[in-house]
């Protein structure tokens, strides 16, 4: 079975700096692959471990994808190889544009049985690129997939909707977005990190995958601003002694009156 997992590199939210007038700066932020895309990688890894096959990673983004440390990190988590689509336009791509580019890349990557996406990208968290990609490819597409069991040329999945669990039988190839509770991603060991050095990385430009005619943006960004900050008292006590606990309880009780 050939599984393709889509992963997006994003700036760490915690590193985002608020400058004056609630403007934000991501300049100093470290870039990482989205937390929830690691669940998709792990889900893919478990499938190829169970039934054999190959696990490929696919990411589209801007210049940051040239960073070899970033690429090695995602490779070390169980991918056999990585496909990278790099273009500045991808930095502000909306969900439809992203899905279009991933579709074009997948056409270029050859035969596959399953495409996996994460529960949502860590920057936009639109939870839509997987859905739109599946529809573009004209394949069975499901979100909120919480368990995957391959059965020959079909696959059985459990999907958690609000008040029920659906058990679905799905023909392959298919496109799934997995939940963040489907598994606990393994932590890469020394061996995985060394092995990541030898894995193949294929780089494409948009024109190499016949995607230079991106559809128009569906929206125009007017502003991106930090939420209004609340001033806090920052009354912080330290220690586990009776005196400290007494002081803390006094402060707390005043609030609970």
């Amino acid at each position: 079975m050939r599984v393709i997992t889509c992963c997006k590199a994003v700036p760490e939210a915690q590193d985002i700096v608020v400058t004056k007038d609630r403007q934000i700066s991501i300049e100093k932020a470290e870039w990482k692959f989205g937390q929830y895309d690691l669940n998709a990688v792990e889900a893919g890894k478990q499938i190829v471990e169970a039934v054999g096959g190959q696990l490929s990673g696919l990411c589209a983004g801007g210049k940051i994808l040239d960073n070899s440390k970033l690429r090695k990190d995602i490779l070390s988590r169980g991918l056999d190889d990585l496909y990278v689509v790099m273009d500045e336009k991808m930095e502000q791509a909306d969900t439809y544009q992203s899905a279009k580019v991933l579709e074009a890349a997948i056409q270029k990557m050859g035969d596959f049985d399953l495409v996996l996406c994460g529960a949502g990208s860590s920057d936009l968290y639109a939870q839509q690129v997987g859905n739109q990609l599946g529809e573009l490819l004209g394949l069975p597409v499901v979100n909120a997939v919480n368990k995957i069991t391959p059965e020959g040329d079909k696959i059985i999945v459990e999907r958690t909707v609000e008040n029920a669990i659906q058990v679905l039988e799905i023909s392959l190839p298919a496109v799934f977005s997995v939940t963040s509770e489907i598994n606990v991603p393994r932590i890469a060991g020394m061996k995985d990190i060394i092995a990541a050095n030898k894995k193949s990385v294929s780089k494409f430009t948009l024109s190499e995958i016949n995607a230079d005619n991106l559809p128009n943006s569906s929206s125009e960004i007017l502003s991106t601003m930090a939420p209004e900050q609340v001033d806090r008292r920052l009354n912080i006590l330290e220690g586990e002694s009776d005196e400290v606990i007494d002081a803390f309880v006094k402060l707390l009780s005043a609030e609970l009156k």
């Binding site: 909707v161 008292r233 920052l234 330290e238 609030e255």
Partner: protein, 314 residues
Amino acid sequence: MTVNNIWVITDDQNAVGELCDGGRQLGKQVSVILFSDQNRAQEAISSGADQVYLFGQAGESVMIEDYSKSIAELLRAEKADLVLVYSSIRGKLIAGRIATQLGISVLSNVSELTVDDGSIIVKHMVYGGAAIRTEKALTDTVVVTVGSGVFEAMPKDAARQGKVNEINPNVDNAGIRILETRPKQGELVNLSAAKRVVGVGRGFAAQEDLKMAEEFTALVGAEMACSRPIAEGEKWMSKERYVGVSGVVLKPDIYIALGISGQIQHMVGVNHAKTLVAINKDKNAPIFKQVDIGLVGDLYKVLPKIAEKIKAQN
């Protein structure tokens, strides 16, 4: 462009009132797509719908998402300006599929929706809540997903008139069959209305240790909530109780965080608390940059002592 035709799509009847209200505020004509029955359709009309399109159940093994092509054709034929899709799991998949049929993006999880000079303007969080983005939609039809709490349902009016259209949809069977649907016990909690909330995080090492937090919560007369990993990774608490950018947003008088690091994705859900309190053993935990009262200490040691002292006061 003027915004006339608003469409509402929901698989959850409870969302009809709020979304219809949104529709009435933003446009002239509100049409609602439902997957249920005549009674629910009438209820939607009393909630503000002018037209209801009732998509019949094609069979137990068919997903309602497989009507997406039919829905997209209907939206195109009726020249929908704005489509408000309830952001349930099924709603999100329907939104993604119909937007793709229309060749556009989905504007997801919007927290505010306005019409300015004929343009649809939305706000939604990005970077895990570190920023709020304002966008102007540029497409002829605009597809957004909206959760509960963005609009307020109007009182129902049984005298309202509207039309119900029954649709026999084409099932665009994409190779998916429902084998079984197992009902899941959802929990009925209304954390967003709670005045006092205690939140627990991964500082708790085992599920049985939550007992300690439960006792403390009862002692201070609060509701218990948690960080996402406690509900999703560990599954120690139900998903209705996790707080943050992708969970519940609270507005309590006081929020007490126990063993929570204070990542932005969590804090977005508690920033509106009047008073923020945290106990964490790491004095460099980000949460200490945004609390009113903090205690740096091992919760296993300090929480029992605190509970004891509060009990002694009562």
